[in-house]
Amino acid sequence: MSTSNPSFRGFEAVIGIEVHVQLKTDSKIFSADATTFDSADNENTSPVSVGMPGTLPVLNKKAIEYAIKTGLALGCNVRKKSVFSRKNYFYPDLPKGYQISQYDEPICEKGSIQFEVEGKSKTVGITRAHLEEDAGKSTHFGQYTLINYNRAGIPLLEIVSEPEIHSPAEAAEYCRSIRSIVRYLEVCDGNLEEGSLRCDCNVSVRKVGETKFGTKVELKNINSFRFVEKAVEYEIHRQIDAIENKEKIVQETRLYDPDKNRTFTMRTKEDAQDYRYFPDPDLLPIIVTDAQLSQIKKELPELPLIRAARFVKDMQLSTHDAHLLTEERDLADYFEATGKACNNSKAAANWIITELLRELNDAKLSVSQSKVNAKNLADLIAEVDKGTISGKIAKTVFKEMWDSGSTPADIIKTKGLVQVSDPGEIEKIVADVLAANPDQVAEFKAGKDKVLGFFVGAIMKASKGKANPGLVNEILMKKLKE
């Protein structure tokens, strides 16, 4: 197996990733506090989330549903009975002195995820996905630290991969795919900057051919996929350097500094934590019935990879375009709606990829915020297909649609952009242009084909770009040969 994995200076990288997915429930996992991101200090708290004496967790139905959904999408086994355990440790952001998590009986286990890396298909096993509560947030001021428990108790699904990732690109793509899936399922908004998706990478290296794992280092606080790639890349080489310099690799947690593009030690794990896990007596085991499972299965959306394959097969898109269009569920929906309405999926794909995505990226908007809706884009494509406007004019119309939100029909009408396809009218323009440029006509007749472009430009200009280019060519040739 390892021979097929990328080699780094004679070493192989072994990477396992833990993705913490904040489930976007309205209330917290064990209390009715809000989960909104921008609330005032400690405003989203209650005696339960501040860990006041005697308060008890009561499990949020939706959190279970979302966990099951994600588990099924990752092909996991969903346990009929799973258990919440207490993970005991002291830290100021942990209000109860323990985190409610899952230990030996997680809700989802043994799945896998498939994705494309540099044109090749890659499958990574999912060890488990378990539910837990998020901790609060600490802000450090040197002399002291301040604690905000607004985040404490937000539901997290921790998705743990098998150590089957072997390159920085695979690591980043794995994380992207997880994000894409949880966004498809609408269980997480996938916002890395706000921390609603957090990727921790466990990286180790070993000599190619070696079967024993090297000492692993955990990389935390990586807030973009690009940084996942860079941090892992840096870490692989740092470890190889260390080995080559006969230094020992320490089991530790390191943070990535994007400004300096390097990782640095946060804490060493020499004193292995003893979390004293035990089943939380305040919570009954989670029971999942067959009926609930089949209901959720039924409601699962078509997932990105399957959808992309369908786009390739049914709509003859390139693999690259199909993946681009299926990364976000909204975009794929938009694409399908557009293609269906104008009966030209290929054109829809081109328009979306070249025009719409560029505008969206420039304006930092999501597809749902686009002023050009799927129906209007489909209408525009239909106008081109019908020959009402040229492809070139259509780009002008699109720009106008993007700025004003108007329909293509309105824009074409008010700006008088309908393509001129009346041969008589075009003949007249051609005749005028030829008459005005006798020298060039003479050149053409002397065998200089190059002047053709000059004539087409002048004719299009005279028609304000509206002349049907096909007809222009046809009539021009006829006239020149007269």
Partner: protein, 97 residues
């Protein structure tokens, strides 16, 4: 109590885990007392419990879940009102590094 699982070094290690400062005298005392309790418990180890599912919740209670609805019954001021030290509506602790 030298052969005990609960010698005073173990007690100190456990006390660190539980974030409790103990004086050497206390550690000694606890070591003696708790060793007896553990010794007493060791009688149980002979009971065959193979395949027995541990009992946590002792009575039959119907599994119920909470609907995902927000109830914001408290304000930040009430949540920090009991804090030994605070700044604004945030809890204040020693620097965490």
């Amino acid at each position: 109590m030298s052969d005990s699982k609960f010698n005073k070094d173990v007690i100190q290690k456990i006390a660190n885990l539980a974030r409790l400062q103990l004086t050497p005298e206390q550690a000694n005392e606890f070591s003696e007392q708790l060793s007896k309790i553990i010794l007493h418990f060791d009688e149980i180890s002979s009971i065959n419990t193979e395949g027995v599912e541990p009992l946590i919740t002792p009575s039959e209670i119907e599994y119920t879940l909470r609907e995902d609805s927000v109830k914001q019954n408290f304000h930040a001021e009430e949540m920090v009102a009991n804090a030994p030290d605070k700044q604004g509506n945030l809890f204040k602790v020693p620097p965490v590094v």
